[in-house]
């Protein structure tokens, strides 16, 4: 198991997993492409249009330069955790999160406690039928997702890259 980009694996991002009672040399099957398209898994029937009853929540991802010898500080709507705003959810309400990535990095963002539906990628028509709790938001792109607030409790939202979390890429939702 490992990072599929060869130079990153060569720097140590790889591990051999051995099943109990199995022998033999481990094998690595190197993929030759990094292409991935969520829409390959979308429902084929036309997506329903956006409903006005859905509450939109824009989340803008940006970074603040801290020097070439330091990690950038990450912000959501201009603030870094723990100073990020806590967004209040109402049980049963449908929400659309607008992930706007204005940074130069891709971010796999993850919402705890909930499953969201991918609804729109930058420049593409509405989609539906793809349910995830993590989605990769590419640099300079926007991804819209929808979910229903159906699991009360403090809900963490964050980038799944640990060093981005460490530098502030987290926020909380709470239920009213």
């Amino acid at each position: 198991m490992g990072e599929v980009r060869k130079h990153i694996m060569a720097a140590g991002m790889g591990i051999v997993v051995e099943y109990a009672n199995n022998n033999g040399k481990p094998r690595w099957q190197q993929p030759e492409s990094l292409e991935w398209n969520y829409l390959d898994f979308a429902a084929v029937d036309p997506a329903p249009s956006f409903e006005s009853s859905v509450t939109e929540i824009p989340l803008v991802f940006e970074s603040k330069f801290a020097g070439h010898g330091a990690m950038d500080r990450w912000t959501i709507n201009g603030k870094s955790f723990p100073d990020t705003d806590v967004v209040t959810l109402h049980r049963g309400q449908r929400y659309r999160l607008l992930f706007k990535n204005r940074s130069t990095n891709d971010h796999p963002v993850h919402l705890h406690r909930h499953i969201f539906e991918l609804r729109r990628f930058s420049g593409l028509p509405e989609t539906h039928g793809i349910f995830k709790d993590t989605v990769l938001v590419e640099s300079g792109k926007q991804v819209d997702v929808e979910f229903t607030a159906n699991d009360p409790g403090l809900t963490l939202f964050h980038c799944h890259q640990q060093n981005h979390m460490d530098e502030g890429f987290m926020m909380l939702f709470r239920y009213a």
């Binding site: 490992g2 599929v4 980009r5 060869k6 130079h7 694996m9 060569a10 720097a11 140590g12 790889g14 591990i15 051999v16 997993v17 051995e18 040399k25 481990p26 690595w28 190197q30 993929p31 030759e32 492409s33 990094l34 330069f65 801290a66 020097g67 070439h68 010898g69 330091a70």
Partner: protein
């Protein structure tokens, strides 16, 4: 579960370590046999960072250095440096992700002498791979080459340059404690020369960095020249990080000792080129 490194990496890493050890051994054998080195002079005024050019890519740099106030007399057949414009083309090809090789073409333009070819150097370099996880960047370059006697009395010279650097937040530090020797020329019996270079930079913004570069030639190891006879230069510089494809460095330097040109303007303009179609997984 096995160790956290994939098994196939071990033989590769050990081969690289052995190669680096061989390079170091060869370098020090030459040093032990050696004598004083040539100072590259004001043809390439640069404190090296530890990074090397990536494989399948080339860095093309133009070093432009103008001596506004330098030696005005011809000394021992060497042209005066005053008002010389040095244009140096540096071509560096990445070999592996831990090695590169560079080529230099030195030229000089000056009233009364026109545009002249000065010489050429070759400079292989290896660095500590990322997989070693050193807390700072480290590499080792060796440079050998020829320059015409009217520009440097020592015509064949050799240099070994350890390179260390470290970026901490907005600060950048680089040290190049270079050792030089002359292979052919009047200084051939002068022993090893010590010519350190140091850079301290600060990132004012993501694009604009500023700092100080220090260059010196102390003379023979173990028997340094007097301060008056040493080469000492201090440059105020700025680096513009406009793109990973470009390297831009500008500076103005003073040389307070008698053996140093007193006022120099320098510029480095570099462009990074990538060759061939690279797989996204490489």
């Amino acid at each position: 579960m096995h160790n956290s490194k994939p098994f196939f990496l071990y033989s590769f890493l050990s081969q690289r370590r052995r190669f680096l050890q061989c390079v170091l051994c060869i370098a020090f054998v030459i040093l032990l046999c050696g004598t004083k080195a040539f100072a590259q002079g004001n043809y390439e005024i640069q404190v090296y960072g530890a990074a090397t050019v990536e494989p399948k890519s080339t860095m093309l740099e133009l070093h432009s250095n103008f001596t506004a106030e330098g030696q005005v007399y011809t000394v021992d057949g060497v042209y005066p440096t005053n008002h010389q414009l040095h244009e140096t083309i540096e071509i560096t090809q990445g070999i592996t992700n831990w090695s590169e090789i560079g080529f230099y073409i030195f030229t000089s333009a000056q009233n009364g002498h026109g545009v002249q070819w000065v010489g050429d150097h070759i400079r292989p370099r290896v660095r500590v791979p990322d997989s070693w996880h050193w807390p700072f960047g480290a590499s080792l370059s060796m440079e050998i080459g020829y320059q015409r006697a009217v520009y440097s009395p020592d015509t064949w010279t050799w240099e070994i340059r350890p390179i260390f650097d470290k970026a901490i937040d907005r600060w950048y530090f680089a040290v190049n404690p270079a050792l030089e020797r002359t292979l052919h020329g009047p200084d051939v019996s002068q022993g090893l020369g010590f010519a350190p270079a140091v850079k301290i930079g600060y990132d004012f913004t993501k694009v604009v960095s500023g700092g100080i570069e220090y260059y010196a030639d102390y003379g023979r190891l173990g028997s340094f020249d007097s301060l008056h006879e040493q080469q000492q230069q201090i440059f105020a510089v700025t680096d513009l990080n406009v793109s990973p494809k470009w390297e831009l460095n500008f500076g103005v330097g003073i040389g307070p000792t008698a053996a140093t040109d007193h006022l120099i303007f320098k510029a480095i303009v570099g462009r990074h080129f990538t060759w061939g179609k690279q797989s996204p997984v490489d």
